[in-house]
Structures are given as C-alpha cells and as structure tokens.
C-alpha cells in the first residue's frame, strides 16, 4: 500500500500537474506514477462534482437537489473512466502508441485533479457572489476544466509518444470506439437477457408440467 501512496508519488503527482510535459514523460519511462493514486483522484473528482452540484449557491445553481445522487454519479464517473481508458488503449495499441494501460489510467486520472480543485473552489466562491457576478464563477470553472483537458491531451500525447495531430486523431477514434463499446455492451446484455429468458421459460414449463 505504501508503495502506491508514498510521499514521493504524491509529490510527483503535483509536479506532473505543474509540469505536465515533463511529468508524463517520466511517468511513462521511469514509473513515477501510481495507478491507485490516479483512481483515488477520479473518485475524489466524482465527489467534488457531486458536491458542486449539490452545494453550489442558489444563485448559480439551478439544479434540483432531488436529482443529485452521489453514488450514482460515482459509478457513472468510474464507468466512464474505465471506458475511456479501455477504448484509448485499444485504439492506441493499433496505432503504434507506446503507452501501457497503466500509463493511460494515470494520464487521465491525474488530469482530473485541476478539475476537482476548481469545483471545490467554485463551490466556495459561489457562496459569496451575487447574480451579476456569475461570470467569475463560470470563468473559474472554465479555466480549471480547460486545464484538465489540456493535461489529459498532453498526458496521452506523452505516454504514447505522439505528435499533437495524431493525439487529436486518436482521441477522436477513441470516442468512436467508446460508442462502439457501449453499443456492444448493450447488445450483449440484451442477448444474454434473451438466453436467460429462454432458459427460465423452459424451467417454468417443466415446473408446470410435473
């Protein structure tokens, strides 16, 4: 456990956030990152996301608190994270990407940190702003999310040793692959359901005949 969450790993994560180019390079080549830490960051991001939706001030937040479910959102964020990593890995495997699954997981996981930070900051700031000062809040969130996306982009670029153009192309294909995976999962669950129904009806038939 200590290996994954050691002080050095934490420090290196913050180094990566401030120096993404360099940071991600050594994550790939010197194993300076930690997958459990990345997953922890994703979980924290999910909580920050829910907290923002639930606790951001009435002035900026039009959501019905009854619609927010932290557990549901945690599962959703984790599922999306898994899907993104798997589809990116499958695409980059075919496109000469150098990154391993764990590098991708770390690249995406670490990139959620700035987003979590601005979500928390935004939630705090929203408590002290009035209606016409919403711009600050929106700007803050926008900057944080943009930084996170850029980090993710750089991360994927560095761990696969791609050019920027190729990264964007693979991201697009990743997105398509993501949809295909979702489609296949739905298809499979549907078919399994049908098979299950078949066996169940056979079973009920037998039960009723005896």
């Amino acid at each position: 456990m200590g290996k994954y969450f050691s002080k050095e790993k934490w420090q290196y994560m913050f180094y990566t956030i401030s120096h993404p180019m360099d940071g991600y390079y050594w994550i790939r080549h010197r194993d300076r990152g930690s997958v459990p830490l990345a997953i922890l960051m994703v979980v924290i991001f999910s909580f920050c996301f829910t907290a923002n939706r639930l606790l951001a001030s009435f002035v900026v937040n039009d959501l019905d608190p009854r619609d927010v479910d932290s557990l549901y959102e945690l599962v959703g964020v984790l599922a999306f994270y898994l899907l993104l990593c798997v589809s990116n890995w499958s695409v980059t495997c075919l496109m000469n990407g150098e990154g391993r699954m764990k590098d991708i997981a770390i690249a995406v996981g670490y990139a959620t940190v700035p987003m979590s930070v601005v979500l928390v900051l935004g939630t705090l700031i929203s408590q002290v702003i009035a209606d016409d000062e919403q711009a600050f809040y929106v700007l803050l969130l926008g900057v944080g999310i943009a930084y996170g996306i850029i980090m993710m982009l750089i991360g994927i670029m560095q761990v696969h040793n791609y050019t920027l153009g190729k990264t964007l192309l693979t991201l697009f294909i990743t997105f398509v692959a993501l949809l295909i995976i979702i489609f296949l999962i739905l298809l499979m669950s549907n078919l399994i359901g049908m098979v299950f129904n078949f066996f169940r009806s056979v079973y009920t038939e037998i039960i009723f005949r005896t």
Binding site: F58, V59, D64, V128, A130, D131, D132
Partner: protein, 494 residues
C-alpha cells in the same frame, strides 16, 4: 445491563418522535371535495395546497319558474355573462332563448325568446354567445341565423350585425358567430366559426372593421425541412398549418381583450390583446400561461390543457377554464399561477363539458353544457388571502400585503408567491438576512441577489477594520517568516 436502560429508553423516545413527526408531515388531502387544489412550484412539481374555492351550488333551469310557468331544463347552454346591473344572462342555446337571472341566481327575471324585427316577430336559432355592454344593451351571437342581434334590456331591437363585407373575407364566407364581447366604445368583438384570422371587430354602426389579435403560425425548422423533402402529392396529404381558433373572450375595465385559445404545445392558452391587437400578456416565472405543466401521457386525459373560456376577475387576476381536465387556472397580472382547482366527473362541483367561466360577485361560476347547469364556487380563507394579497401587490402596496402573505404561509408553508412577497417586504425594510431567507424559499434569484449584495456590503463596511487589520497582520507575518527562513538557510549554509 442496568446502565443501558436509559439509553434504550431514549432511543425508543426518539423513534416515537420520528414516527409522530412523519405522520404530521403528511400531505394535505382534500377529503370532502371532489377535486384537488394545487399549484406548480419553481421546479414544475405539483404542489398540493388547501382548497382555494369550494363548490357551493349547482343551478339548473329546472329550479326556476317564470310567470308561473316552469322554466325547464337548459339544453346545451353555451355562454353566460353578468351585466353591470348584476343580472346574469345565460345563452340557453338548445332551447333558442336567453334566460336572465337576478344577481343572486335565486329567480328568473326575464326570458328572451322573440323580439320585434321591423314589425315581424323574430326568434333565435342556436344563440351561442351572449354579452351585455356598459349601457345595458344585450349582444347575442345568433349562430345559426348567422348574425349578432343587439337588443335593449326590455327586448326591443337596436340593430342586427350580419353579413360582414370586406376584401379580406372570402367570397361566399358564411358568418357564424360563436362568442361575442363589447368594449366601452360599443365595438363588437366576435369569435366566428372557422375564422382563423383572428377575432372579428365590428364598429358600433355594425360595419366590419378588421381582424384582431391574429395568432401567428410558427413552423419549426424541422417541419420546413420535411416540407422540402415531400413531394407535391405528399404535401397535399399533410395537414395544413392553420392557426388555432379563439375559444373565449372577455374584456377588462381598461379595454384590454382577454382571449383564450387552444394551444397544442400547452405554452400559451390565453392572450391579453391591447387595442392594437398585440399580445401583451406576461408569462411569469415558468414562461407559461397554458394550464398544466405536467402533461405527458397518451390517454384522453393527458396532453396540454384546452382553454375554452377566460374570465377577467379583478386586480389583474384572470381565470381560464380547461375543458380537457375540467380545471380552472387562475393567474395574476404577472402570469404567476395562483391556484388550480376543479375536475371532471358527475359529482356536485365537477364538470362534464365546461364551456364558460365568469366571476360573479367574487364567486367563480362555471357553465356546464352537458350537465346543463351553472356551478358556483365560493372562495375559501386560503383563496381570499391570496386574492387580497395579489390585489395589494397589483396596487403597489407590497408592504401592506405582508400580513396576508404570512397568513397564507400558515395555511400553505411552501407557497412561493407568499415567500417572495414577504422577502420583498423585508428587503425594502432593510432586514436583508430575513429577506434572503424568504426570497430563497420563494426561489426568486434576482431579488435574492439584490438582498445578498446589500447584506454583503453591510458586512464588509461593518467589519472593514477587522479585515484590514487581518490583511496587515498577514503581510507582516509573511515578511517575517521569509526573513526567518532566509536567516535559517544562511545559518545552515554557514
């Protein structure tokens, strides 16, 4: 073991309290009424409230005699209206007559079946709408005789409006008036059958003047796209894009025309037309004056409300009658929904085919064509408080209204209008903390922000010395720490 006894006792006490509080917090159920009274909150959830109006009586023609003769059941009556002198005119369409009741609806004072038309006795054929002008003249939309008959109160003929002539009317157009209204200048507003261009306006000499309040047809981009793709044959098969017809009409004392129409999208079922025929209605917080907001489903009972009549009441309040679910929606002048009540059914106080609504002496009165009855609703404490508070706000006395709103809150804790009203009053009084509390409960973001900004400024000016001292101390501390760290480093190096 003994030590744990009080603990278990406390736990059981807590549970009992929880159970009790649950049973107290239950929804309010209207037990004796055949319908629910409700409103929509900011999030468009249905919010049940105490009854605003309760049914008092149902009056049919069979209850009355006139000159010793029984009046007899109404037959598909279609309209009713109240004259300024208090008499109530009912268009008893199926019996081809106008029945006049006194203001308390306890006796029939007149029945108009015939009138003297230049020496010959003339009668009505399906009189569909009726209206009385300020000087007491009766306007009758005599639908199957294709004319509007204007009579004096004693039944002598004033004029007949028929056969409108205009370039904008098709050749062979048959004028079939359904509903009629008169303004202070004796201009006649007529809703005619199959007339999609709007309300027909006639000058006081009976000449057709113009169309009024035409509803514009909005074709979405998507429909346009499909129209493009369709072939000529397909296009002839498609339904035409024609505007909806108006269904009911009323005129407020300022001369604005309230007209209901059936909106397939359920957004706007009523219009407030200024003298130029432009719609100037305010749609309120939910951007909707179309009745029910929760309209999903596929049964006959679902879908957008269909407003069949509108009645201007007083102080900017108007009520619309929905024939699909038999509900009455009351809005204030800002378009806020005040209360919704009524329902379909055969019980006393419910409707089968409601056709007209009117405000008669503070009561809401609905005419039902199938039941052939006039159904009266009496205002309750809750409804009266809301009406009065809205009236005060309409006059600009928001501070006066606070007492009323507070009593509304006693009956209906989550009433957003009441919370907003109280919040605004606190805001003007300068109590920003209370104002923020109530405006937040009333979901009024704009006024909440105003209150919050003032509160924040107040806090900042009050505590400016602490803030500035704090910042000063912080700066000094940083400088000192930096110096200490530098010294330590130097010391370490040396």
């Amino acid at each position: 073991m003994k030590r744990f006894k009080p603990l278990s006792r406390i736990i059981s006490l807590c549970m009992a309290a929880a159970v009790l509080s649950l049973s107290i917090g239950e929804e309010v159920h209207a037990t004796s009424l055949p319908y629910d009274t409700y409103n929509y909150d900011y999030r468009e959830y249905i919010h049940y409230t105490p009854a605003a109006y309760v049914p008092s009586t149902e009056i049919g023609g069979e209850n009355f005699t006139y000159n010793g003769e029984p009046v007899g059941r109404f037959l598909t009556p279609q309209d009713l209206c109240q004259a300024d002198d208090g008499d109530i005119y009912v268009a008893d369409t199926g019996n081809n007559r106008i029945v006049v009741l006194d203001s308390s609806m306890s006796k029939v004072v007149n029945i108009i079946t015939t009138f003297d038309n230049e020496g010959t006795e003339d009668s009505f054929n399906q009189p569909y709408g009726v209206c009385v002008s300020e000087n007491g003249q009766i306007y009758i939309a005599d639908s199957q005789n294709h004319r509007v008959v204007v009579l004096e109160k004693d039944g002598t003929l004033v004029k007949i409006v028929a056969n409108p002539q205009s370039e904008s009317l098709d050749d062979g157009y048959v004028f079939t008036p359904l509903k009629v209204a008169v303004d202070y200048a004796d201009r006649i507003y007529v809703i005619a059958q199959n007339m999609f261009e709007g309300i027909m306006v006639f000058e006081n000499d009976g000449k057709f003047a113009s169309f009024f309040g035409t509803i514009k047809v909005e074709i979405s981009l998507w429909d346009k796209f499909w129209k493009r793709l369709a072939t000529k044959e397909e296009r002839t098969q498609q339904q035409l894009y024609i505007p909806t017809e108006f269904t009911g009409i009323d005129i407020d004392p300022e001369g604005f025309v309230y007209a209901s129409n059936i909106d397939a999208t359920g957004v706007q079922g009523v219009r407030r037309l200024n003298p130029r025929g432009e719609d100037v209605i305010k749609k309120g917080e939910n951007k909707n004056v179309g009745g029910d907001l929760q309209i999903s489903g596929s049964s006959d009972y679902s879908g957008p409300s269909q407003f069949t009549d509108v009645a201007y009441r007083s102080n900017g309040i108007y009520s619309c009658l929905d024939r699909r679910r038999g509900r009455i929606f009351s809005y204030d002048h800002e378009g806020n929904l005040l209360y919704v009540f009524g329902g379909l059914g055969t019980q006393m106080g419910t409707f089968q085919l409601p056709v007209a609504v009117e405000d008669i002496g503070g009561r809401i009165v609905v005419l039902d064509a199938t039941k052939a009855a006039i159904i009266c609703f009496e205002v309750t404490e809750y409804g009266r408080l809301i009406n009065e508070a809205v009236a005060l706000r309409f006059d600009g006395d928001e501070a006066e209204a606070v007492g009323l709103w507070e009593r509304v809150l006693e009956l209906d804790e989550n009433n957003e209008l009441a919370n907003t009203g109280i919040g605004k009053a606190y805001l003007t009084a300068g109590d920003y903390v209370q104002a923020m509390k109530y405006l937040k409960l009333g979901m009024n973001r704009d006024y909440y922000s105003i209150a919050y900004r003032r509160y924040r400024n107040e806090m900042l000016t009050k505590n400016a010395s602490y803030f500035l001292t704090g910042i000063l101390i912080l700066i000094v501390a940083i400088i000192v720490i930096k110096k200490v760290v530098k010294k330590k480093k130097k010391g370490g190096a040396a």
